[in-house]
Amino acid sequence: MTSEAIQQQLKKIIKPYVNHQDNFENLTTESDFISDLEINSANLVDVVLDVEDEFDIRIENDDMEKMLNVKASIEVIQKKLAEK
């Protein structure tokens, strides 16, 4: 999967948890889940679980802790997809 395609799918996943709509409309790879999109920390776990379900992958803790922005999340997803 291209990183663009992953980003599109990721955008769908994070949509329900976002609290800053303007930054969400203008999402870039640099967008930070907490400071830009204002996703609350308890919902970051939901993002990880939704990503696992959507891409049919399992994300361990050391990868989960990197998933704080769009770019890092795409990298984790790509790595996990490559391992499948």
Binding site: S41, N43, V48, L49, E65, L68
Partner: protein
Amino acid sequence: MIGNDIVDLAKAKRDTYIFRPRYLDKVCSQEEVDLVRSSSNSIQTFWRLWTMKEAAYKAFQRQFSLGAKYNPFAFSSQLIDEEVGIVSYQNHTLITRSFKTDKFMYSEVSHSEVHNTFFGSTAAFLSHLKTEFQLAFHPIVSTSVEGLPMLKLNQESIPFSKTHHGHFQAFQY
């Protein structure tokens, strides 16, 4: 050492379903999962552990200049009684104190130095400090070079920790 965290229980209930499959396993150690599952009020116990770990994280972040990371497993928590808990990070431990109402759960790091806690809006907090420290002006909120919140009183700056969730906000200073 300061660090605090508050959870608006009604908002948490709307936003987060902790019994979603694999949710607890993602944020809790096996011991913590057992504490939550065996509790007569699992949701409250979960948010107690959560706020304890967040409060301790904020304190450790100041001490060790931890970057933004999201690793609930780096911190392990134990409950001593209804109020007191312990959070460990590597070989360091912090005592926490928690209290709850039916509307929110609050935890803060407890330390030998005297610290104060204030519940309310930022404006009310600054007014309160003005009176407490007999200042001519409201204190100024700033950030330290490490990006941590500081209050400028007269000559000195003191660190503070702010937590806000839903309808509730608290300051420790």
